[in-house]
Amino acid sequence: MAGEDVRIGLARASRENMVAAVLLAPSLLFLAAFTYWPVFGVVLRSLTEQRFGQSASWGFGNFIRLFADTHFHRVLVNTVLYAVGTIVPSLVLALFLAVALSKPGRLTGLLRTVLMLPQMVPLVAAAALYVFVFLPGEGLLDHYLAYFGRYATNWLGSPDLALPSVILITIWKNTGYYMLFFLAGLAGIPADLLEAARIDGANGWRRFRDVTLPLLGPTFAFVGVIAMVNALVQIDHIIVMTGGGPSDSTNMILYYIYQQAEQNLDLGLASAATVVCVGVLLALALLSLRRLERGIHYES
């Protein structure tokens, strides 16, 4: 903290620091209890080996078991496929929709609302609806696909189709939300920049590519982080629709953690998987966040 013998400026600075500390304290208290300490605790727990009827010991046994588990290999592959499969299309679609609906108007307003609706519905509720959408033969999708001469498709029951089906729900659910951020981003682009580009003779696509897109960089970073967290964390529909099946084809890292902790009562394995999950999240996010911070400093 600040020194004892002080000039007025320094005293004022240290009082300011105190104020900052007081203002931050409530948040930090909760963060300490429910973010920092749990991270520490889960690392500790992951290094504790205790199985049925045995006493606890220290070691990397949980990690060795985790990385030897073929289900976990499958889970990692699924998680990457799912993340890429949901994030890329959602972001592209969200940007496209934001561009299409950026002008104010009755129709654009209505469409914005409609596209945002899925975000307002609990994922479990959406999943309950989609169980019917994907029902082979009599479901909503097959019912209307039948007009195009298609037969019943086992959407959720085929290991090849189950993951894409689940991805479809996620895109439906989240795109409208991401669109809002892009709308906000587009609104913040100075009109004179676009006008200047127009005068320079740049066509619509060029203006978009050379002016709009670079200025949306921070928005991409921010939405990218949110989308990534969503991809890893939102598994409610997995629980309701597939239980991770068929044959583990829709099993994701968080569902795996849930299975180990709740079904197999194997807290060691669950903690080790959590540590891996947290590590991956931090590593991936570090890049985006740095970019995000830079963008915001640049703007303000």
Partner: protein, 272 residues
């Protein structure tokens, strides 16, 4: 101009597709329940209609209690968050203390690690604190919000400092400045945070599923799942549609009414 038309048309098409599951929910929830019939999936509203499915769904669960719990949970979390995020947001926006960006990064960590990821240690934590199986236990991990702090920091930054300076010259204390000048001006930011927060906690499932075991503290999503997950026979689709509608309607309606305001306020928070 031509491209814009095409874009709008494509967006409208997307809108229709997006709406389809809701349309089915509305139609099926009113249609007499008969899994055998061929037009089970038809979106065309064909009678006779009735409220039987809603009655059955209502009687299968404890909806009044679930509504009450969910509302209490959302309001409770929001009330605490309002305090924590505006204080911290102000500190990050207006006070230049050493290590500010490091502390800010520490806050953002929470954005990446929601309670669902840390479900195992968080459960142990609330058991430890004696909060397991209570609404407070569900709420506790959310009392600080990195997202909210981020949003409020941006909001406060977008408010010109002149107002504060003027008030300070008039002899107003920091607290007075915050209450009478900054918070009213930051209202759009708080409002959009409120929408995000309430919709997030109204809709959350996994954490409340784990954090609460007794029926008195059940929330809507957990209740809904318990009667859509039955597996030995097959779906009573009408009842599922009705139950889903019961859970989703409050927020859907609320959002549709407040939509314009919400979008505008989010855009104004400087989240560019």
């Amino acid at each position: 101009m031509k491209a814009e038309r095409v874009f709008l048309l494509l967006a409208a098409l997307a809108g229709l597709l997006w709406l389809a599951p809701f349309a089915w929910m509305a139609v099926a929830s009113m249609r007499p329940d008969a899994p055998g019939q061929a037009d089970l999936a038809s979106l065309w509203p064909s009678g006779p209609f009735g409220w039987d499915n809603y009655r059955d769904a209502w009687e299968s669960g404890h909806f009044p209690l679930w509504y009450l719990n969910t509302a209490l949970l959302c309001v409770g979390i929001l009330a605490v968050q309002m305090v924590t995020v505006s204080l911290a947001g102000y500190a990050f926006a207006r006070i230049d203390f050493p290590g500010r960006s490091t502390v800010f990064a520490l806050f953002l960590l929470q954005l990446l690690l929601p309670p669902a990821v840390l479900v195992v240690p968080n459960l142990q934590m609330i058991v430890h604190l004696g909060l397991f199986d209570s609404l407070a236990g569900i709420a506790a991990p959310y009392c600080a919000s990195a997202f909210g702090v981020f949003l409020m920091r941006q909001t406060f930054r977008s408010i010109p400092r002149d107002f504060e300076e003027a008030a300070r010259i008039d002899g107003a204390s920091r607290l007075q400045i915050m209450r009478h000048i900054l918070l009213p001006m930051a209202w759009p930011g708080l409002a959009s945070f409120a929408v995000v927060s309430v919709s997030a906690h109204w809709n959350e499932f996994l954490w409340p599923l784990m954090a609460v075991s007794s029926p008195q503290h059940q929330v809507l999503t957990v209740g809904l799942a318990s009667f859509t997950l039955a597996s030995e026979s097959g779906g009573s689709w009408g009842v599922i549609a009705a139950g889903t509608a019961l859970v989703a309607l409050p927020l859907l309606l609320g959002f549709t009414l407040l939509q314009r305001r919400f979008t505008a306020s989010l855009a104004s928070t400087g989240l560019k």
